[in-house]
């Protein structure tokens, strides 16, 4: 109970701070908008190319905006040395990790929802019919991304070249998630039933469990390092 309360208070703090400042959300919205313009210029009006590239583009958008968001995940902790406070807080530090993961997850899901709407508007796509089967794919993919991103965000928070190191560390580890998410998204957008992508969803779920477990077990050491 105390553990859950500690995780909740970290989530509450992150969401409240973001609601007030809107720093990350504003940055991610305009970043997403720029990405969409870029995709539009690159693909033009060729519908066939667009449909073929759409799953990759969607996840490219999610990953790039996620990188920007997750890279800022521990910015508030660096201000006023709050990091020290987290480190000296008694009890299991993994509660802090889970609270941060939950905050990052919600923020990323919000940005992804905005990106989906923008994709539909920019490319004149009817994504509404695919939303239900897409939800578990996006959800599972985003959990894996947020789990590792939060851990690596903490690892690189005090490194001088963190902007460079963060994506370099994160992206290779994300290969299973990216592979599973893009393949499952492709199948869902082609109208295949969710059952047909069960193996990819299984891969995503397994990756999520592994990443979250590693995060829970190692966050204390990362915070202390």
């Amino acid at each position: 109970m105390i553990y859950a309360r500690r995780a909740w208070i970290v989530l509450w703090k992150d969401l409240l701070s973001e609601r007030r400042s809107k720093e990350t959300l504003n940055a991610l919205f305009f970043f997403s908008l720029l990405l969409l313009f870029l995709f539009q210029f690159t693909l033009g009006a060729d519908r066939e190319r667009l449909v073929a590239a759409l799953p990759g583009l969607l996840w490219l958008g999610f990953i790039l905006s996620g990188l920007v968001g997750l890279g800022r995940a521990f910015l508030a902790e660096r201000e006023n040395d709050c990091w020290e406070g987290l480190l000296l807080a008694p009890g299991d530090k993994s509660a802090i990790y889970l609270g941060k993961v939950a905050g990052n997850l919600l923020l990323m899901l919000l940005v992804e929802a905005i990106l989906l709407v923008l994709f539909a508007v920019f490319f004149n796509l009817d994504l509404a019919a695919h939303l239900l089967p897409l939800a578990p794919v996006i959800g599972l993919g985003t959990i894996g991304f947020a789990a590792v991103g939060t851990l690596f965000g903490a690892m690189t928070a005090h490194v001088r070249a963190r902007e460079l190191l963060f994506p370099v560390l994160l992206l290779p580890v994300q290969v299973p998630v990216l592979l599973g998410a893009v393949k499952a998204t492709e199948a869902v957008l082609l109208g295949e039933p969710l059952a047909a992508v069960g193996h990819w969803l299984g891969l995503l779920a397994a990756a999520d469990v592994i990443y979250l477990t590693v995060g829970v077990l190692t966050f204390d050491a990362v915070l202390e390092a």
Partner: protein
């Protein structure tokens, strides 16, 4: 009978890479006692406080706080120590009340409205409880940090330049509160550069130089000018 020291440091050393910051530091602070730690920049005052707070590990020697070993029992030490470092541990976009609620919940401290309101009133921030910390002065942020100690009531306070950047009024207020903490049996180890206000609450001064405690003496009737002379003599000798 003399009480066991709240802070007990023997032969403490700390090196960063090949650079030795603390060489052989030994120091005791007893309950109800405040020790002002003086020394030039880079003497290792903050390093010593960070080792005692378990933020750093000593390279050698022993450091015990409230009877617990800082290296082997960090969780027990953390539950008994309050650290006021350079940063005030405040989130700028939260209000004073929200900041206090956050740290109280995370630390497993009382976090009901009465407890939080009482702690803010104790540091005279109750009237700005719902204002964002972004609008606060440095002195107000320091007071908010001290409100955490009102809730946690740690027996040991480690203060790093607590009087830096705060005005006369806030300084007087801090003096009074540290005096009350000491009178209630709390132990204070305070790094300071100030020979005036910073020494007001101290019972002893320890001058850190050359990685060692070059002088550890009761403050007694020493005037600030005497302390300055001792400081010049020992800090320069040790450096």
């Amino acid at each position: 009978m003399t009480a066991d020291p709240s802070i007990h440091v023997i032969g403490l050393g700390k090196a960063f890479g090949g650079h030795l910051v603390l060489d052989d530091v030994s120091l005791d602070v007893r309950p109800g006692e405040a020790v002002a730690l003086l020394g030039p920049n880079g003497a290792g005052k903050s390093t010593l406080l960070r080792i005692l707070a378990t933020l750093l590990r000593a390279s050698r020697g022993t450091a015990r706080v409230a009877g617990y070993d800082c290296s082997r029992q960090p969780e027990s030490v953390r539950a008994r120590v309050g650290l006021l470092a350079h940063g005030a541990w405040v989130y700028e976009d939260l209000t004073a009340l929200e900041n206090l609620k956050f740290w109280a919940t995370l630390g497993g401290l009382p976090n009901g409205p009465e407890a939080l309101g009482g702690a803010l009133a104790a540091v005279e921030l109750d009237r700005v409880a719902d204002e964002r910390v972004r609008t606060f002065s440095l002195g107000m942020k320091r007071r908010l940090a001290l409100a955490r100690f009102v809730l946690a009531r740690p027996p040991v306070l480690l203060l790093d330049e607590p009087f830096a950047g705060i005005d006369q009024r806030a300084g007087k207020w801090l003096d009074e509160h540290l005096g009350a903490f000491k009178a209630a049996g709390g132990a204070i180890l305070m790094a300071t550069h100030s020979f005036g206000r910073g020494l007001g609450v101290a019972d002893r001064i320890a001058i850190l130089a050359g990685g060692r405690v070059a002088l550890d003496t009761p403050l007694g009737a020493l005037a600030p000018d005497d302390v300055r002379r001792l400081y010049d003599l020992h800090a320069e000798d040790g450096a």
